[in-house]
């Protein structure tokens, strides 16, 4: 057994070594870390203005020395809002993605691995959930949650003496995470199942089965490493969708509470000014795209690094 766990750890350390050699991936990782740091640390410095202070006499400023990225439709500093929005969007990207990957991959690979009737039933459940009108569920969920969430927030503010704005900013994200991952895991499950079913029929898995290894071991030690690459690639693809879904949901009362912002909301608001004040769309789009590019090239690098076949090189 110890032999195997050694092999396991070397898989990861080998992967890390290979990743470090991939210049594109390391550059991407570096960019992601920088953007995250900027969003979470920079707002503590006083050079960044209050993202929520309006000035109706000072709307639609072009980038200038006073407002480095200009101001929005109610005269708020766009740079400050971009950083604040980044906090929310990065959190949504990480948490919602992690949740939907964990749920989707476990569900899909179990269905694909067991096969037969169990697989049929499990996948038909996915079909049903896929066909449900998402909007109906979101509206009902937001009504249900709004009452209970107030109580949680109240307790946090009064009994734990936490900062009110901070609490409100983040407690509202919990139902959002639930809602987004509730939708996100379905396609993930289908992808994982298709992969597992293919890998399962490979000779080495059949060999492992005939050796009498436990299903758990076969799934985690032999099947998972082989589907990890595709899963990572698909995961990085879903992140932009999740970040944009957050914006749509915030208009339905789930998620970020006004006047706070997110990248999705900035893009949505900016899109309305596409013809008249294009900088309000272009600036958030640039930072959004850079983040996603970096994320995807990192995903590609990870895929290559984790590929067990490549390890033989």
């Amino acid at each position: 057994m110890s032999h195997r766990s050694n092999k396991g750890s070397s898989l990861w350390s080998d992967a890390w070594l290979r990743l470090k050699k991939n210049r594109m991936a390391t550059a991407s990782l570096f960019i992601l870390i920088i953007i995250t740091l900027l969003c979470f640390v920079l707002p503590f410095f006083s050079i960044i203005k209050d993202p929520n202070i309006q000035n109706l006499e000072n709307t639609f400023q072009q980038p200038n020395l006073h407002h480095l990225l200009g101001t929005d439709q109610v005269g708020r500093d766009l740079l400050a809002r971009l950083l604040l929005g980044g906090q929310i969007s990065i959190l949504v990207g990480i948490v919602a993605t992690a949740l939907s990957v964990i749920i989707g991959v476990s569900y899909g690979s179990i269905a694909g691995y067991i096969g037969g009737k169990t697989d049929s039933i499990m996948m038909r459940i996915v079909d049903i959930l896929y066909g449900l009108p998402f909007l109906v569920i979101i509206i009902l969920f937001s009504i249900l949650i709004s009452e209970h969430l107030d109580i949680v927030a109240q307790t946090l503010i009064e009994d734990w003496e936490l900062n009110k704005t901070m609490v409100l900013k983040f407690t509202n994200l919990i139902p959002l995470f639930i809602a987004i991952s509730a939708l996100g895991w379905l396609t993930m499950a289908r992808m994982a199942r298709a992969q597992v079913m293919t890998v399962k029929k490979q000779e080495y898995i059949e060999a492992a089965m005939s050796l009498g290894l436990s299903h758990w071991k076969i799934l985690t030690r032999h099947i998972m490493p082989n589907i990890l690459g595709s899963i990572i690639v698909y995961t990085t693809l879903t992140v932009p969708g999740f970040i944009l879904t957050e914006a749509s949901l915030s208009y339905l009362g789930l998620g970020v509470e006004s006047p706070n912002s997110s990248w999705g909301i900035l893009l949505k608001e900016g899109a309305n000014y596409m013809e008249t004040q294009p900088q309000l769309l272009i600036i958030p789009s640039i930072i959004f795209s850079i983040t996603l590019f970096a994320l995807n090239f990192l995903g590609d690098g990870l895929r290559d690094a984790l590929d067990p076949k490549a390890a033989k090189d």
Binding site: I128, P133, L135, V136, K201
Partner: protein, 306 residues
């Protein structure tokens, strides 16, 4: 194979029934009713209207009555539009179908070749170029790309209109908007799948034996490499038809996506039920088609399908 398909279709009916039952209950739990509005109406009027649509009865009774009518092939009347649901759907479905098929064709014809080429030329300029374009396609939302195409392309090319649904030229921009995002996903997924396969032992063996690159790709690699793409295409096709709300409103397409959203927002229970039945059927069929395609690509799966 045939028995598998038949059993899947039977399961499909169960799926649609469950879908309908859940939707039927949930939408009636939502606040408001089809008759509430900014200007509220007198109570006796609302009461009469509820009686007319049997909304004054308990939900199970309403459901039984609905199912009973359904067995006679009746989808009922829209509670908001005063039109038969079947007629509304019948008038909107063709546009959605055209949009979905054109969008999917663009996605497949652009996405899969791009993914294959990228994988073959891994880490080359072509690969990076294609993947950056794909990433742009994924990270620019349709509410940006649609107006951009309308504002930049339609105003310059004479036979394109910024919006409207008359002659087949009008299909181009909405299909592009819808298809390009999916193409980008497909390109990324295909590339991943292909890379996976290109590293497999049998491909390496073939390469070692000196089999030409082209015949390896055509005969062996694509088969396995596009499996993830096919698994994605099934649900994606259903999503293109159901989830085209934004594209429909940007380009003024008289399709079904708007009914899916608007019937929920206006509490048009009967229209939503009709739409959900249709979409349920689409999802069942699309996933079945994807699964059959998977079996063809990977015949070893056959024994597995219950």
């Amino acid at each position: 194979m045939l028995s598998t398909v038949i059993s899947r279709l039977a399961q499909g009916f169960v799926v649609i029934f469950c879908l309908l039952a859940i939707t039927f209950g949930l939408i009636r739990l939502m606040p408001g009713d089809p008759f509430s509005g900014e200007k509220s109406h007198a109570e006796h009027i609302i009461k009469k209207n509820k009686e007319r649509f049997k909304l004054d009865r308990p939900i199970p009774q309403q459901f039984a009555a609905y199912l009973e009518a359904l067995t006679r092939g009746e989808l009922g009347y829209s509670a908001v539009k005063e039109q038969p649901v079947a007629k509304i759907i019948g008038q909107s479905f063709p546009a959605s179908l055209i949009l979905g098929i054109c969008g999917m064709l663009i996605a497949i014809l652009v996405g899969i070749p791009a993914g294959i080429i990228s994988a073959l030329k891994k880490n080359s300029i072509i690969d990076y170029g294609a993947m950056i374009i794909a990433m742009i396609g994924i990270s620019i939302p349709s509410f940006v790309i649609g107006p951009l195409l309308a504002g930049q392309l339609a105003t310059r090319v004479p036979f394109l209109k910024v919006a409207g649904w008359g002659d087949p030229f009008d299909w181009i921009l909405p299909s592009l908007t819808l298809g390009l995002a999916t193409a980008a996903y497909l390109a990324r997924i295909t590339r991943g799948g292909m890379l996976e396969v290109l590293n497999q032992d049998y491909i390496r063996t073939a390469q070692a034996k000196g089999v030409s690159q082209l015949s390896i790709v055509l005969k062996h690699a694509i088969r396995g490499g596009i499996i993830p793409a096919i698994a994605y295409v099934g649900p994606a096709f259903a999503a293109l038809i159901t989830g085209s709300f934004i594209v429909e409103t940007i380009f003024q397409v008289p399709g079904m996506g708007q009914h899916f959203v608007n019937s929920t927002l206006s509490r048009d229970y009967f229209l939503l039920q009709g739409v959900v039945i249709l979409f349920g059927a689409l999802i069942v069929l699309a996933n079945l088609a994807a699964d059959i395609a998977l079996v063809f690509l990977n015949p070893r799966l056959k024994s597995n399908n219950a």
